[in-house]
Structure formats: structure tokens, C-alpha cells
């Protein structure tokens, strides 16, 4: 930000870009406060859809299922993804490394439909009852590769001599990982977890393949109720979700900004 005035080109592209991103959400938020049952007609301000939402047991159940699935699958994915990333970046010369690293990224480019279908076939063939457990497994499968990518990019810039110093001072390799590597890469692991959490929260396709009768996630619930006609309750629900995400993102960036500023100030004082 060096005070150079924005050119008309920059102003236009900024406006267009942000409009493209946020206009649909803005409309959704506005209509969530619509008094009318018809989504396209504005009939005055009202919060009744929010009231209706908290009394809708089906939605609440779906939200609870989604939350449990997201927490469990992102935690599992973080553990597995971190382990995979560690193996891929640290042990550069083991047999089959290329194959392994190619395979870990495969779910990134694989269409969700194929992942969903193949998992469904697997669960049927091993006789696993479909339900919340299978959704957790499915979400772990596809989100662990995102975690692996986030964590391995951090590990690549990690000073390897820190681990060697830990070994040199008497740590076993596991102890060195636990007391030196993990605390240092923790921010990347946490953002990997958050990424996996959001991916799980918003997945519809894979979940609808592997879900069972008793375990409807929020995206499945929203999608199926849309098919019966757009309900303003959904707008209200979406607005709540947007608010939660916005608060989360803003808090995270403020905290990290403050940490960096504090660090720089302290480093400046030292020299």
C-alpha cells in the first residue's frame, strides 16, 4: 500500500470480482429476513424464519450429525494426513515414494461422484451398515489429502537441523517429532484441520452416496428440502452458517496478524 491511486481498470476489476463473489450471498442474507413465504417477493422485515428454524427438530438433528461427522473426520484426516506428509517430505528415498505421493493427491482430481460410488461399493461388499460411521470414513478419505498438502508444504520449509538437534540431545525419533516438530508445525496442522472441517461440513455428493436412513447431514437435508420448493428457513440457516464462517475467518486472521506483529516487535528489540 504505497499510496498510489487506483486506476479505473483496478477499480472496475475489484468491483466486478467482489460483486461476483458476494452479491448472491448478500441477496440470500436479505431474503432470510423476508416476511413473505415466497422467496422472490419482498414483504417487509421479519425474523420469523429464524424462530421457525430453531424449532425445526429435523434441521437441528441434521446439524448435530454434520457437526459430529465434521469433527471426527477432520480429526482423523489430520492425524493421517500429517503422518503421510511427514513420510513424504522426510524420508526422501524409500521404495515406491513416487507412487505413494501420486496416490495421496489422487482424491484431489478424482470427481466426488466416483469417490462416493467406489466407497459405497466398498461398504456394501464388506457388509458395513451405512450411517454416520461410513460418512466419517468417507470424509476422512477425501479430506486427508488436503491436510497432507497443507502440512507437507510447511514441512518442506522446516529446518531439518531442528530435528537433528533434538536427536542429538537424546530424543528418540518419536520424541523429537512430538516435542520439536509438532509444536513448530502446529499452525499448519490446525489450518489443515480447519480445511478438513469445512470440506466435511459442505460435502453433499459423497455423503449422499454413503449415508444411511438415520444419518442425514445438513447439506443433504438442505438439498432435499430445496427439491420440495425453496423455503425461507433455508435462507435463515445459510445466513447463520455464513455468519459463523465469517466470524471464524476474521478472528483467525486478526489473531495471526497480532502474533506476527508481536514477534517482529520482539525481534526488533533484541537487535
Amino acid at each position: 500500500m504505497n499510496g498510489r491511486p487506483l486506476s479505473w481498470f483496478n477499480v472496475t476489476s475489484l468491483t466486478l470480482g467482489f460483486a461476483f463473489l458476494y452479491l448472491p450471498m448478500l441477496i440470500l442474507v436479505i431474503y432470510s429476513f423476508n416476511a413473505s413465504k415466497l422467496v422472490t417477493v419482498w414483504a417487509g422485515f421479519s425474523t420469523k424464519w429464524y424462530v421457525a428454524l430453531i424449532h425445526d427438530q429435523q434441521f437441528l438433528d441434521a446439524a448435530w450429525v454434520t457437526l459430529r461427522v465434521a469433527v471426527a473426520s477432520s480429526t482423523l484426516a489430520t492425524i493421517l494426513g500429517t503422518m503421510a506428509a511427514y513420510a513424504l517430505t522426510r524420508f526422501s528415498r524409500f521404495a515406491g515414494r513416487t507412487v505413494f505421493s501420486g496416490m495421496i493427491y489422487a482424491p484431489l482430481v478424482m470427481p466426488d461422484v466416483i469417490i462416493g460410488l467406489s466407497l459405497l461399493l466398498l461398504f456394501i461388499s464388506i457388509g458395513l451398515d451405512r450411517g454416520i460411521f461410513t460418512i466419517i470414513l468417507a470424509h476422512t478419505t477425501f479430506s486427508m489429502c488436503y491436510v497432507a498438502i497443507v502440512v507437507s508444504s510447511r514441512l518442506q520449509s522446516f529446518d531439518k537441523s531442528l530435528e537433528e538437534a533434538a536427536l542429538d540431545l537424546g530424543c528418540t525419533p518419536f520424541d523429537a517429532f512430538k516435542s520439536v516438530t509438532l509444536p513448530i508445525i502446529a499452525p499448519a496442522v490446525i489450518s489443515g484441520w480447519l480445511l478438513a472441517f469445512t470440506l466435511s461440513l459442505d460435502d453433499l455428493v459423497i455423503a449422499s452416496f454413503v449415508t444411511g436412513p438415520s444419518s442425514t447431514t445438513l447439506p443433504i437435508k438442505i438439498f432435499s428440502s430445496i427439491r420440495l420448493g425453496v423455503n425461507p428457513e433455508i435462507n435463515a440457516l445459510s445466513t447463520i452458517l455464513i455468519a459463523i464462517v465469517a466470524v471464524g475467518v476474521i478472528t483467525a486472521s486478526l489473531v495471526s496478524k497480532r502474533t506476527i506483529a508481536k514477534r517482529e516487535r520482539e525481534a526488533l528489540e533484541a537487535n
Partner: protein
């Protein structure tokens, strides 16, 4: 640059490498390390003795760091054995060796305070909590870090970080301390101070230090013995004085300090006297010294350090070698000046003189005809 030699004369001379009965603390036996096709260390044999301050010196990629990392246990020799106290340690992992290392990047744990960094290794032993506290305090005092124990590494200056790294690597009282370019990140003045601190600490703790450096001044200052390496081979292992005064090859002579190299043909003039012919119409260079391995007519290199060559306008001394030339360049370094002189045959020689006079009274200047002279013992005849 003139190497500084800090010679503190001990009561009795410390030279275990001369004692045939002395048991080495570290020995490398035919150690080879290959990375794919690249040979980093080539069938190397070396003995290092207890309480030595041993320097591995060489340009980057010469294998010195690989040698150190094999001692620490981060690399395993491709063939050969490494022994510590007579025990094979090839297969012992780094965390089971009584060897600690100070890393070039310091490798301080950024998430831990100075105190916790130093206590890190001690907490992995069965030491009592109180004893750990005492030891950390002792280390902080040794490295003059009292008052910094609660700081994090990023709150310290470069010199302080270096001392934390040293304190951490010494905390477990290792038998051997490895130092990988420990002073490379410090500025020159701080580096010189720290060199003396290192020597002081080494003396106090009695630990065997093995230091890797590419800075020959640093190696000469701190070390009891210096090993010069090139392309995975040990070229010479000797005291700083011997390395400087009696290098065994042109490479070593050229690597350590400044040197004049004149190539010529040897002519034996007596049991310990050699005359070297290097150009037509120039008097041969007379050198006194060992003649073994030198045969009549052999191609040899004569080396002489610039500070052993005198430059004068009159040439009124009775030194064995005296040649005429023209001053091409003068490098004024404050305490000394280096004169680059071209002989009549085009050969360049440099001579170094102490500036005993103020610079405005300097007698010799550019384009002057001068005499260069050196005694018959000043130089050395090398065959490789």
C-alpha cells in the same frame, strides 16, 4: 590476510599425537562415504585425541561437514569404521552417542525459552529436577547469558543465539563436542572475541572439540591441530604452525594464507641445498631444506610467504636470494603493506612489510625499481 596465531604457552607441551602410546578418542578407519556417484569422503584415516581442539578445514564441498555428520550419527559410512574410545559407533543412533553438536544454523527450538532449550537434553536423561536447574544455571553463567533465560530465541541477537546453542550442546557434558561453522553468522569483531571464548570454554570443560570451518584464520586461531581437506581427502593434518610453515603440498600452502609460488627445475647442490631454475637470465633460487624425494632436473614448486620476502630500494643485505623488479601495486592494510612486484622475466612476487613508518614517509612507491630478497631457509620446495 595474515593468520593470527594465539599461542598461549602451556606448562608442558600438549601433543598427544606425537606419543605413540596415546589412545585416540576418535578414530576413522578407512572411512568412505558416497552419495550416489559422488564420493564425499574417500578412504579416510584420522585420529583425534582427548582434549584436542581439532579443526577440519576446507572449501565447501570438501567433505568436512559429512565427516562431522558421520561422527554425530546423522550419516552412516558407506564403508570403514568410526571408533570412539575404541568402540565401533557406526550403528549407534545419534541419541545414544556421548557426542553433542552445535549446528551452523544454531537449530534453537523456536517454541522454547532459552532455559528450556538448554534443559532440553538434560530432561531426556534420568537427572533429578534440581540438578537440571543447577546445571542450566551453570551453563547460563559459563556463556554469560544470565538474565536471558526467559527469552525466546527470536528475542535474542545473533551473538546471544550462538551462545545459547553452545550452552545447549555443552549442557550434557559430552565427551566430544562437534561445531559446524559455529561462528559463520557473526560479524568479524564478534567472531574474534568468540573464538577466544570458545578456547577458554574448551580449556575449562576439558571437552574434545571438533570444529568444521572454511575460515583458515579461525582454524589457526582456535585449533591444536588442523586437518586440511580437499575433495574428500585429507591433505595434511598438523599443528597450525606446521601447516603454515611446512605445508606438504602446493594446495595446502595456497589454501592457508598468502604465498608466492614459483615453478621451476630442481638442481641438487649439496645434501640439503637445492637450486631452482625458473627462467632464463634469472639467477636460480637457492633453498636449504630436505632434499629427499627430489631428483636432479625434477619439476618442482618453490613457495615462499610474502612476509618472509624483504623489499628495499638498495638491496644492501646478504640474503641468499636477491632479485630486481618493479613495484606494480601496493596494498595498504594499515599495520602492513603488501607490495606486488614484477620481476624482469614477468614473474609476479609479493612481499609484505610492516609499516614501521607513517604512510607519508613511505620510501617505496609505484613503478619504483626495487630489490626483493629472502634467505635460503625462507621458502620450501614442494613436488606436489
Amino acid at each position: 590476510m595474515k593468520p593470527i596465531m594465539a599461542e598461549t604457552k602451556p606448562a608442558s607441551v600438549f601433543a598427544p599425537w606425537l606419543d605413540a602410546d596415546a589412545k585416540p578418542i576418535i578414530s576413522f578407519e578407512n572411512v568412505t562415504k558416497k552419495f550416489g556417484d559422488f564420493t564425499a569422503v574417500n578412504t579416510l584415516n584420522l585420529k583425534i585425541y582427548e582434549r584436542e581442539f581439532f579443526a577440519l578445514l576446507g572449501s565447501s564441498g570438501c567433505g568436512k561437514t559429512t565427516l562431522l555428520r558421520m561422527l554425530a550419527g546423522f550419516e552412516t559410512p558407506t564403508s570403514g569404521f568410526i571408533l570412539v574410545d575404541g568402540q565401533h559407533i557406526n550403528d549407534i543412533p545419534p541419541n545414544k552417542r556421548a557426542i553433542n553438536m552445535m549446528f551452523q544454523s544454531y537449530a534453537l527450538f523456536p517454541h522454547l525459552s532459552v532455559w528450556d532449550n538448554i534443559a532440553f537434553g538434560l530432561r531426556r536423561t534420568d537427572m533429578e529436577k534440581d540438578a537440571i536447574g543447577d546445571r542450566v544455571t551453570e551453563m547460563l553463567r559459563l556463556t554469560q547469558l544470565d538474565g536471558f533465560s526467559h527469552r525466546k530465541p527470536h528475542q535474542l541477537s545473533g551473538g546471544q543465539r550462538q551462545r545459547v546453542a553452545l550452552a545447549r550442546s555443552l549442557a550434557k557434558a559430552p565427551r566430544i563436542l562437534l561445531l559446524d561453522e559455529p561462528l559463520a553468522a557473526l560479524d568479524k569483531k564478534l567472531r574474534q572475541e568468540t573464538q577466544f571464548e570458545l578456547m577458554d570454554i574448551q580449556e575449562k570443560t576439558g571437552t574434545t572439540f571438533v570444529i568444521v570451518t572454511h575460515d583458515q584464520e579461525e582454524a589457526m586461531t582456535v585449533a591444536s591441530r588442523v586437518a586440511v581437506m580437499n575433495k574428500g581427502n585429507l591433505l595434511q593434518v598438523a599443528t597450525p604452525g606446521e601447516i603454515y610453515e611446512a605445508p606438504n603440498s602446493v594446495y595446502v600452502a595456497d589454501f592457508i594464507g598468502e604465498v608466492n609460488i614459483i615453478e621451476g627445475e630442481a638442481k641438487l647442490e649439496g645434501p640439503d641445498k637445492i637450486a631452482i631454475t625458473y627462467a632464463e637470465n634469472m639467477p636460480p633460487i637457492i633453498s636449504v631444506g630436505k632434499t629427499e624425494g627430489i631428483s636432479e632436473g625434477q619439476k618442482v614448486s618453490f613457495i615462499v610467504r610474502p612476509e618472509k620476502v624483504r623489499v628495499s630500494l638498495t638491496g644492501d643485505d646478504d640474503r641468499a636470494n636477491k632479485v630486481k623488479g618493479t613495484v606494480m601495486d601496493i596494498a595498504y592494510l594499515g599495520s602492513i603493506s603488501t607490495y606486488h612486484v614484477r620481476l624482469d622475466n614477468g614473474q609476479m612476487l609479493s612481499a609484505q612489510m610492516t609499516n614501521t613508518q607513517r604512510i607519508e614517509h613511505r620510501e617505496i612507491t609505484w613503478d619504483d625499481q626495487v630489490w626483493l630478497s629472502w634467505s635460503d631457509e625462507a621458502g620450501l620446495v614442494l613436488t606436489q
